[in-house]
Amino acid sequence: MIELSLNEVEMLAAKAARGAGFNWGPCDDIGKCARALAAGGLPWAPSLLALARDSPSLAAPTLSFPAEAGSAISAPTDGSCLCPIRTGALIADRPGLLMGHPLRIDRVAHPLWLVGFAALWDVRVHVSWRGACADVAGGAIAAKAGDAGWLAPDADVTISGGPDDVREPDRRRRASIDPTVFEALGAMAARTYVPASASSRATGAGGSRTDDE
């Protein structure tokens, strides 16, 4: 396993997401989610690979506005799954959706990313689906049960208010990543780089020289 700093996790995830075709803003979200998931000891890296593979077929959520407490986020009618990044971003933008009773979201692909987003929402919540659940408070994630469920390709997710009396979970300061997964994410990230050309070598950085002074 390769040990990464959390900043490396954030940068790698954001770049890999960009290489996979996500827009810049969502890439920032993905980087921050990955960092929170890594700090919670959750498998952000294999989940990101799977998300990148599936993302072209995932749907945006729909919602009738104004979004008030108790509004539902609807699953697509064509049977496809919801994109967890667009769903998580919607809840981030409309925190009112989390007020009141539990929010149930059907057929979310790679629901782990909703746990990552919950760490960005600045609220205390409990996120669960079949085989996995986590308390999220103060930006930190406490995995309560799971392992099998974290990498579920899709699930019906419930988000409810977290208990008030739970202290903020401890965060890990480092992340471990399988070398094969690391390489695969690196290859995705490399799609954001521009190969050198004769002209870029000459002018891209303002000229190169040996320091002879």
């Binding site: 700093s5 490396e8 667009r86 050198a196 050309s197 303002g206 000229g207 020289r209 040996t210 320091d211």
Partner: protein
């Protein structure tokens, strides 16, 4: 008495003015040295394992009230042909880690296997900052030779070069596995921006001089001289900086705002003072003299910077001639002096005046250095309930400068920022003649604001922003900037960063001035050399409470 308002962002955030920035007493290295003095940090070698040629390792230990840190330095042979100044090199004369604690033998062995490799090594969370430096060949050899002869080096050569070594990178925040910034940002000694980086460079400066003296002693035991304290103090650490630094200011708008806000608040406080007392006038004049001395030592072959320096020297003469009478005025004399600068001096001169005016007012402004860090996570959230009409209003209020560009013109849209596959470093490409624009980095803020403004024209005014972003997530990062700019006036560089005439070194200079760099020496429009800590005290001076000379 009037309270003087902060200078508006339309003045402060223009690229040409940012490119005329001078270091001030709020700069990060100054704030770090004040903290060292306040807390009486003790700096001493803990290991010195260097051979006759100066190769080996050393550990310099820093004891602070709460913790101990160490600079672990490695000095290794390097063929002259390998000594490139650029961040892309693969070997260096010396390499360094700022270590959390004092390393034992096993940790030294781990570091010895990784630190000289820099980017190709892997690091642990005990390793806080990673850096490397190359010798200034002409000066380093001369200093060693002269000291070994029992003589002092030529003062002119010291003045012309100004440093024995220059760093080509100083890495923090988790790079290559070193500690995340989160790990140290809550520690009081590293609460300010880049404070651990500045400490590292400060210690590197001491190491470079100790290394030269060591080599002279080994060459001529019992006969070698120590470097004269005055010459010694003139030596800083050189640094070569290129485009890698530029995207940082665009990617961290809230942090940029905090830096600018602190400096502008300090300036406004001084301008608002009702009177100028004798002590502060003397302090101002001493700072002016130090700046004139610094200009004399400031060497550049760059035509534009050379011309700016000539104007700056003339500006300083003007200030010197007028300051006494203006500051003797009865009502808000510092404001009068600033107005004089604004009306009579070049941009270099005006920004130099900012630094000079802050210099004698430490008691009034120094605490602002502690406000320059920020919690970016706290401002990350998008207010999706905001209406598209309100967002449009924010753009009109805060981005008039961006809307004024015509991105239909080839000149305004001439370039693109990208990351080079070969070097993994930011680069600037020509959009209309080079491949790769489809992989552009999101730094074209003005253009993207214009595009978002056009999209908003088609949205119902009352429709929430969240609705727009749900359908068009490509605007997410742009909306975030606009909402942030609303309450934070200095978030945006008010210039087109992809314009044909844009000079990236303006961005670099602004950031480097906040670090505390001086003697900016552009080597092209995309990279420059600077000096850090030239003329500044050494750790042992501070502990001995010798008065610090103004760094201008």
């Amino acid at each position: 008495m009037n309270t003087i308002a902060l200078r508006p962002p339309d003045v402060v955030m223009r690229l040409d003015r940012m490119g005329a920035s001078h270091p001030t007493r709020l700069s990060f290295l100054r704030a770090m040295m004040r903290q060292a003095e306040r807390e009486a940090w003790k700096v001493a070698p803990a290991a010195w394992e260097l051979d006759n040629d100066g190769f080996g390792h050393a550990v310099i230990r820093v004891d602070m009230p709460m913790r101990t840190y160490s600079l672990v330095a490695f000095s290794t042979p390097l063929a002259d042909a390998m000594r490139t100044d650029r961040v892309i090199a693969e070997a260096w004369d010396t390499s360094y880690v700022l270590y959390d604690g004092v390393p034992d033998a096993a940790e030294i062995a781990r570091l010895a296997a990784n630190v000289p490799l820099q980017e190709a090594g892997r690091f642990s969370e005990r390793d806080l900052i990673l850096s490397r430096a190359n010798k200034s060949v002409r000066l380093f050899a001369h200093v060693v030779e002269r000291l070994a002869e029992g003589r002092q080096p030529d003062a002119v050569q010291i003045e012309n070069v100004g440093y024995l070594m220059r760093t080509t990178a100083v890495y923090g925040n988790g790079k290559f596995g070193i500690a995340d910034r989160d790990r140290i940002s809550q520690r009081p000694e590293f609460a300010g921006p880049f404070r651990a980086e500045m400490l590292t460079v400060w210690l590197i400066r001491s190491f470079t001089i100790a290394l030269a003296e060591h080599m002279a002693r080994r060459r001529a035991p019992g006969r070698a001289a120590m470097l004269d304290p005055e010459l010694r103090r003139q030596l800083g650490v050189g640094n070569s900086t290129g485009l890698g630094m530029a995207p940082f200011l665009v990617r961290h708008p809230f942090l940029l705002h905090r830096w600018m806000l602190a400096r502008e608040t300090a300036l406004a406080r001084v301008r608002s003072l009702a009177a100028a007392d004798r002590g502060s006038i003397d302090g101002f004049l001493a700072a002016l003299a130090a700046m004139q001395d610094n200009i004399r030592r400031w060497k550049t072959e760059d035509t534009a910077q050379g011309a700016a320096l000539l104007r700056l020297a003339a500006d300083c003469d003007q200030i010197s001639g007028k300051a006494g009478s203006i500051l003797a005025g009865e009502a808000q004399p510092w404001e009068a002096l600033y107005r004089f600068a604004e009306q009579n001096l070049s941009l270099e001169g005006q920004e130099a005046m900012v630094a000079l005016m802050l210099e004698p007012h430490g008691a009034l402004v120094d605490e602002l250095a502690d406000t320059m860090a920020c919690d970016e996570a706290a401002v990350y959230r998008i207010d999706g309930a905001m209406s598209c009409g309100a967002l449009r209003g924010l753009i009109e209020t805060h981005y008039g400068w961006a809307l004024a560009y015509d991105f239909g013109s080839a000149e305004a849209d001439a370039r693109f920022w990208y990351v080079s596959e070969e070097k993994l470093e930011p680069r600037l490409g020509e959009r209309h003649s080079e491949p790769g624009a489809e992989r552009e980095q999101p730094l074209a803020v003005a253009r993207d604001i214009c595009r978002l403004a056009a999209v908003l024209e088609a949205e119902p005014s009352e429709s929430p922003v969240a609705n727009l972003l749900l359908g068009q997530p490509q605007w997410r990062h742009v909306v975030r900037r606009v909402q942030l700019a609303a309450g934070n006036p200095y978030t945006e560089i008010r210039g087109n960063l992809i314009d044909a005439t844009m000079r990236p070194i303006d961005l670099l200079r602004s950031k480097l001035a906040f670090f505390g760099a001086s003697r900016f020496d552009p080597r092209s429009d995309r990279w420059l050399r600077i000096s850090l800590f030239a003329g500044a005290p050494f750790p042992e001076d501070i502990v001995a409470r010798k008065p610090a000379r103004a760094i201008s």
